[in-house]
């Protein structure tokens, strides 16, 4: 279970993001070791999602640097970051509602496909093979996350399945690092447990590292190798689950100061 010795996959150093006068993330440094499951926790508004958005290129950090596998990806557009090997899900589900589950995952594969426009119009054999491959792979990924209604429009899937589809779609890009933004929000205990199992399988069978934002402490404490705690945009603690659990500042941030 340990994540030692494999090197660093993602490194954020002294990352700051300000919106006008508001400092959403302040000087946060942070690493994800290869093969690890790492969590970011913190009260609402602590800057977790802002931090995610900087890692995936949706926001450009005001200062600081993000590097992935040793390459600087700070301020790169989202599709290049996806191509480099980071995929994500969204806290407020952002599926392509009028596409089927399979089509959603096919869009997720976009950065790995090569067919050009002319090949698509003329249906060249390479393009036909690639299309067939995407469908097979999409269905395999949907099976992997446990979604059975492959050809249903994503908008008509039940909530839990939509969350699963978000993960399958992100996996479509063959990521090395998967960013999950509150994946168990709105799930019941059993579904959360299934998801925890899924993350373990991802790491063991597919070598995908996971960076998790999560409010469900049972999931976080069970699955994480390492936890970083943010509060008001600043890193207030980090360490192994048992260390963070007993950290005084973390308890203060969550429960308020007792002084």
């Amino acid at each position: 279970m340990s994540a030692d010795g494999n090197g660093t996959l993602l490194e954020a150093s002294h990352v700051t993001k300000t919106f006008g006068g508001l400092v959403a993330v302040n000087d946060v440094s942070f690493t994800v070791p290869r093969g690890a499951i790492v969590s970011i926790i913190g009260p609402n508004g602590a800057g977790k999602t802002t931090f995610f958005n900087m890692l995936t290129g949706l926001y450009k950090p005001t200062t600081g640097q993000v590097s992935f596998e040793g390459r600087n990806i700070t301020g790169k557009p989202p599709h290049e970051i996806t191509h480099a090997g980071i995929a994500r899900t969204f806290q407020n589900i952002k599926l392509f509602r009028t596409m089927t589950a399979v089509e959603n995952v096919q869009v997720g594969m976009q950065s790995r496909l090569k067919s050009g426009v002319v090949a698509s119009i003329l249906h060249w054999p390479t393009q036909r093979r690639e299309e067939k491959m995407t469908i097979d792979k999409a269905r395999e990924l949907l099976d992997f996350v446990g979604l059975r209604r492959h050809y249903e429009l994503s908008a008509s899937l039940p909530y839990g399945d939509q969350r699963r589809l978000e993960i399958a779609r992100a996996l479509g890009s063959d990521p090395k690092l998967l960013l999950l933004d509150e994946p168990t929000a709105g799930m019941n205990a059993q579904e959360s447990e299934e998801l925890r199992g899924l993350m373990e399988t991802l790491r063991v069978e597919r070598g995908v590292s996971v960076l998790l934002i999560e409010h469900d402490m049972r999931v976080v404490m069970n699955v994480s190798d390492h936890i970083t705690v943010l509060d008001y945009g600043e890193k207030i603690a980090e360490g192994k689950p048992e260390e963070v659990r007993t950290d005084k500042r973390v308890i203060e941030a969550y429960l308020g100061s007792q002084a």
Partner: protein, 400 residues
């Protein structure tokens, strides 16, 4: 109130259940056969002058169908509201004006035509011209699309509207390329080696088949692109730009392709209409034309290829045939105006009726229908429909 509602429901379900009567390929064969036999069916239905009028309207309609299919890529697939599509019509039409007329007197260049070589100007074969027109206009689609990439919705619409005004005005004032308000005329007739020069406007069958072939090429490219990796990216961008980017869709490239392909079809059709009408004149490139093509898409069913074709045929035939035929009706009942003079008022009325009864168009795409009916209306639509439509469809509506 309830009468109107059930009427609307019947209209909504009508097309869906008819469509299920035959398999898809059978429908395609039927429509293809009808389109091929059409010039020979016309004299059977209408004799004399109105038969010729109908065929003339049909040739124009073929051009409009291509444009509607092109604009549908930009607006229907990629969700980029473009109100300046007329600019691409202008580019395409001027290409045929430049390469198939005596406009440039200083040059004398002939390529596979039967124009006497003593005539000045550039005279290139029509097939070459339409390819050049599509490529040239496609490039302009990218040039005009590039500055708008960061804009969405209303803002995008206003900027594209401005481009739709700028382009014709530039042509109007740049007399060297456009001949100013006189326009470029005459345009070389369409010529094929072995067939000879087509004899329109006296015999319209030949040019009709040229137009039909161009529609089929457009349709083929349209469907292939829709079902490709790029087509999925277009729909993803329309649905949620942020999510699409995060899934690896290159927003810049995806949008520029939509502009390029959409514009290229505008130029393709523009060259055809320019050649058929034998004149290229800036008066043809008014803002109203952009709206006219957009209306075809909305009425037919945005995003759905079959719907867009139907919408284009309906509106274009109304404009080019039905209204002129009924032109003197107001006069007969003592009103002093022509029906064609108020054509836009009539289109507006039909658009209004459509928006109330069937906002998703004649033949909506399943995707669009979901977008328009995912709100409060779903309950009563589902209730209205459950009795009268195919069970599969009712289930679909009720489920979300």
């Amino acid at each position: 109130m309830s009468g109107a509602k059930s009427g609307a429901a019947a209209l909504r379900s009508g097309f869906g259940s008819t469509r299920d009567l035959l398999p898809r390929w059978a429908w395609i064969l039927i429509f293809l056969a009808l389109a091929l036999l059409f010039p020979y069916l016309v004299p059977e239905i209408l004799s004399g002058g109105s038969g010729d009028d109908l065929l003339d309207a049909s040739v124009n309609t073929l051009g409009y169908v291509i444009m509607a299919l092109g604009l549908n890529i930009v607006v229907g697939f990629a969700g980029l509201l473009d109100l300046g599509y007329v600019a691409f019509y202008a580019f395409g039409a001027f290409v045929v004006g430049w390469l198939g007329s005596g406009q440039f007197e200083g040059v004398n260049l002939d390529f596979i035509t039967d124009v006497p070589s003593t005539l000045p100007g550039i005279h290139v074969n029509f097939v070459v011209i339409v390819i050049v027109a599509a490529a040239f206009t496609g490039i302009w689609g990218v040039i005009l699309g590039a500055p708008t990439l960061r804009l969405r919705g209303d803002y995008l619409a206003i900027v594209t509207l401005a481009f739709g005004e700028i382009v014709p005005r530039v042509f109007e004032n740049w007399e060297y390329v456009s001949n100013g308000r006189q326009g470029i005329t005459p345009i070389d007739r369409v010529y094929f080696p072995g067939v000879g020069e087509l004899n329109y406007p006296i015999e319209l069958e030949g040019i009709y088949y040229v137009g039909l072939a161009m529609v089929l090429i457009t349709l083929f490219v349209n469907i292939r692109m829709r079902d490709s990796r790029l087509g999925r990216a277009w729909i993803a961008v329309r649905e949620d730009e942020v999510a699409a980017a995060a899934m690896g869709v290159n927003l810049v490239r995806t949008k520029l392709w939509a502009y390029a392909v959409g514009a290229a079809f505008g130029g393709f059709a523009g060259a055809f209409l320019g050649a058929y009408r034998n004149t290229v004149n800036v008066d043809q490139f008014e803002f109203g034309f952009s709206v006219f093509i957009l209306c075809m898409i909305i009425v037919g069913g945005m995003g759905n290829v079959a719907g867009v074709i139907l919408g284009a045929i309906a509106l274009s035939m109304l404009d080019r045939f039905v209204l002129p035929q009924l032109n003197d009706i107001p006069d007969k009942i003592g009103l002093e105006f022509d029906l064609t003079a108020v054509n836009f008022g009539i289109f507006g009325f039909f658009l209004l009726v459509m928006m109330v009864l069937r906002p998703e168009g004649f033949i909506p795409s399943t995707r669009r229908r979901l977008e328009l009916h995912s709100g409060d209306e779903v309950g009563d639509v589902a209730a209205d429909r459950s009795a009268e439509v195919a069970p599969g469809e009712a289930l679909y509506e009720a489920r979300h």
